[in-house]
Symmetry: C2
Subunit: 389 residues, 2 copies
């Protein structure tokens, strides 16, 4: 068949719930809405397995066991389901496990779901929950919250490389500018440099505008093998690279504070699998949980030299018109960061770009996209390469 | 090569920490000990990926992100790692994901680890944590604990089928008798029927001797492909069947209260994959979290007619000398039930039987074993068929 897809794993359906504060909708409602949207997009009404990326349901919703719960609640009782957790990289890790499952030949059609419900908690504390991504014995137990961990990194980076607040402002402004065209973004409003510079400090030097927001959200993907993609006849996106790299959870154990080895390993492995160099990547949905993480991950992924990544913001190189666009639909900063769902939102957005369906956020001629989802301050890094076919 | 293994997924290493109350050892200590034991058993010092089955670390240890944490702590910083959760079936589900990963060809050597630390909690409540395996909105929120859920099932079963306390006593006694030969069992002491009948009631009709104990533990497996198994030259155990079935989390939504559809689906799928009938299975490591679950899962797996399973205990059919031995090294009841680790302990024990290394617990001529790990009261069921090669 001339127009059949070559062997591989394909995204044929995607769905997302707008990121925000969903006071009227529970964890399971959000999950089912995203899952059904993705299946409708794919034009399928059956599924072999469901993999759910989630981090905080035990702490904030007093609910575990989401695989079977969502399988049942979505109308697919009996279907295999499991929860995949890797802190804030849970969504990307669920995508990774879905990719492996389709590649194995055991499943032909897998739904990958990321879901997080952070507002309206039963008894839990969000900051304490997020701190479980760090080392409980050596970081969280001494009161180091996640914003404090990132503040240490940002302060050290400013000290080592002479980066200023204005340099970081450019990353926040870029994210908000990009979010303006995304109907699922939590903060679809541009901000200017003064807004950034006048924002309240959270953990010096990190201010409110360096920080991604606590949010609710759910996003889903339908992954299939080549034969199923061909049969469905939908515009598919190929997953040509998929990899994970890890590092110590705690900052003090790392080889380097500012050179993120987990990111480097993950990006190299994914690019190698796809047979791509960094300069062949058209855009990156990266993990800007804090502006410093955008800078550090650009460097460790190979898009800038170590110590130079901060210059890409003010130079406009990370804008949608620039050399290496990032966070093209708002990123964690402005689309929002429902932690266990974020990695799936990134892949949904990359797939929209590659299908030419990103609306006001559309990049011209995007053929190769990278998504990179980070757990902790770089301890788990999941990178995927997506390509238009 | 005449003695090379045929294509498939093989267990070539196994390790376990004795189940019990490990007041002096943390979650990560237990995890690393089991992982290193499995790798030493396999004779390997490298690994492609680590999959960690765990349920309660967020609630009891205030720690998530165990994939990267254990990868680092065990000396394998950088290696891919993820946490797999499916309530009390987390260990079995980690094995399932490891099986899929090796089958995919993406990884050739995967460590599957199950770990749970239930004593010495930071702030959490064990019963509240376990209730997150049930439906939070419709069961746990109204105060239905896990033992209460099982009490409803047991009471209904006694009413429908005329089973007596003496019938259930036989399952508890069998588990304890079998544990006596297992150096890793928490309660390696036989009990008699009077001990059972005089045990304190927890949630009528469930008494202390119907119930598996809260415990700490960790167990690990090294999974490899055929080529690696051949190269290592170890006595390998083949995973010939692997499957998951699910059902609603809440009891009231199910087709039947006593016919566990998740178990039936899971067992049929796994047996079908292995090409085996129930009567070709030599023994079953089943999920006797409560004695009623042993009875219900024997029936739904096809080893007894519905409503007849309770007779197998007093008839001696589930003893090591019987027609269908269960819990050959003590089961959840007497080996202990460190929830997220249990599914891996089951596979370790089945592999020991198939390697002929089960010591005082050894079955004569065991060639085909089944392991079945259940999350919730039957909502996630993971079944594996293991065969001697």
């Amino acid at each position: 068949m001339g127009d059949s897809y070559p062997e591989g794993v394909y995204i044929v359906g995607l769905g997302q719930v707008p990121v925000g504060e969903h006071w009227q909708r529970s964890l399971r409602d959000l999950a089912v809405d995203a899952m059904h949207a993705a299946m409708a997009d794919a034009g399928v009404n059956d599924v072999d397995a469901l993999l759910v990326g989630n981090m905080l349901a035990p702490t904030l919703s007093e609910q575990q066991h989401l695989g079977a719960l969502v399988a049942d609640w979505s109308g697919f009782r009996g279907v295999e389901g499991a929860t995949i957790e890797a802190a804030c990289a849970s969504g990307g890790m669920a995508l990774r496990q879905g990719f492996i499952a389709v590649r194995s030949g055991i499943h032909r059609m897998v739904v990958v779901l990321g879901v997080e419900k952070m507002t309206d908690s039963v008894n839990g504390c969000t900051a304490a929950g997020l701190a479980m991504a760090a080392d409980g014995d050596y970081e969280a137990a001494v009161g180091l919250s996640f914003v404090a961990i990132n503040a240490l990194l940002m302060r050290r980076y400013m000290h080592e490389h002479g980066a200023t607040r204005e340099d970081f402002a450019a990353f926040a402004a870029n994210a908000h500018r990009n979010a303006a065209g995304n109907p699922c973004a939590m903060f679809p409003r541009p901000i200017d440099v003064d807004t950034y510079l006048n924002a309240p400090i959270i953990a010096d030097p990190i201010n409110l505008m360096d920080s991604s927001p606590v949010a609710d959200g759910a996003a889903a993907l339908v992954l299939v093998d080549a034969q199923t993609a061909t049969r469905l006849g939908k515009k598919a996106v190929r997953i040509s690279g998929s990899a994970v790299g890890t590092d110590s959870l705690s900052l003090h154990e790392r080889r380097s504070l500012l050179e993120l080895d987990g990111v480097c390993l993950s990006a190299r492995r994914a690019l190698g699998m796809a047979g791509k160099r960094p300069d062949e990547v058209d855009f990156v949905e990266l993990h800007d949980a804090f502006t410093i993480m955008a800078v550090l991950s650009l460097e460790a992924s190979g898009f800038a030299e170590y110590g130079e990544g901060f210059r890409l913001g003010r130079a406009g190189e990370v804008s949608r018109a620039g050399r290496i666009p990032i966070c093209t639909m708002g990123g964690l900063k402005a689309r929002g960061h429902p932690v266990g769902a974020t990695g799936v939102y990134q892949a949904v957005e990359a797939a929209l770009q590659l299908r030419g369906e990103a609306g006001d956020c559309q990049l011209a001629g995007a053929k190769v996209g990278m998504t990179q989802n980070i757990g902790g301050s770089g301890a788990t890094v999941v990178t995927h390469i997506l390509e238009a076919v």
